[in-house]
């Protein structure tokens, strides 16, 4: 106990400091997602197009939102990444394609915590990156509480 004893003034300062640090942000931010994408893309340019995101623009139930992603063209897609900007954990899914993969058409169901932008990034086998994004309105949010 003695080892932990602090003068009252210092103790108050430490307590106030931890109180300031304590609240964890409930949602990710656009900049966090931008840095995740930056990590993924590296120095290459991220271009709009070729990727087609398909999600209902008005989401009635954020607990299970159908999402379909397709990439046009004959070029092979190496991997596909989906991010939701304002979810507590923005990364949704990463799909990597093997030698037996067919045309790039992927569908799944995701959770959305609030109205936000969803971004899909395709990493092509030739090293280029393409993306698409959609702004969605969520009427019933997925439960995070």
């Amino acid at each position: 106990m003695t080892a932990l004893r602090l003068p009252r003034r210092q103790f108050l300062a430490v307590a106030a400091g931890t109180a300031l640090l304590a609240p964890v942000p409930a949602f990710a931010t656009e900049t966090e997602v931008a840095s995740l994408i930056k990590q993924l893309v590296g120095g290459s340019p991220l271009r709009q197009g070729r990727v087609k995101l398909d999600i209902p623009l008005l989401v009635e139930n954020g607990n299970a939102v159908p999402i379909a992603i397709a990439v046009d063209g004959p070029d092979k897609v190496a991997s596909l990444h989906v991010f939701a900007e304002r979810n507590p954990l923005p990364h949704v899914v990463t799909v990597t394609f093997g030698p037996r993969a067919g045309p790039c058409r992927v569908a799944t169901r995701m959770r959305l915590a609030t109205s936000q932008t969803v971004i899909a990034v395709a990493s092509m086998a030739d090293g280029s990156f393409w993306s698409d994004s959609l702004d969605l309105i969520v009427t019933l949010a997925a439960c995070v509480e």
């Binding site: 799909v95 993969a101 058409r105 799944t108 995701m110």
Partner: protein, 106 residues
């Protein structure tokens, strides 16, 4: 073991692209929710999914807590030869489940 629904055509023409659909019964507990006493309910999700055709990879997916409960995945594969399509997934608790589906390629 989670129940699972897999939808793969019984046969396909050589070179044709087929659709593969999987629905796994799993709560996908996100680790973001709290119980009545305010304790965080620990995360328990399927975090990895791999599909292979006669051992050669079709796709693999890394799943995060933002995937809805009872995860559904749909993707395509090129029919090359008859054999077995395998699907394997890994739970946060380390459990691994594999399902095999035979396919005939003509």
């Amino acid at each position: 073991m989670p129940r699972v629904l897999i939808n793969v055509p019984k046969q396909a023409k050589k070179g044709e692209a087929i659709d593969i659909k999987v629905l796994i019964s799993h709560p996908m507990e996100s680790g973001q929710r709290h119980d009545d006493s305010g304790q965080v309910i620990p995360r328990k999700i399927i975090n990895k999914f791999v599909c292979a055709w006669n051992g050669e990879e079709v796709m693999s997916a890394e799943l995060f807590p933002a995937i809805a409960a009872n995860p559904f995945l749909s993707f395509t594969a090129i029919a090359t030869e008859s054999g077995t399509i395998s699907m394997t997934w890994v739970d946060d608790d380390g459990a691994v489940q594999t399902e095999l589906v035979p396919i005939m390629v003509t």
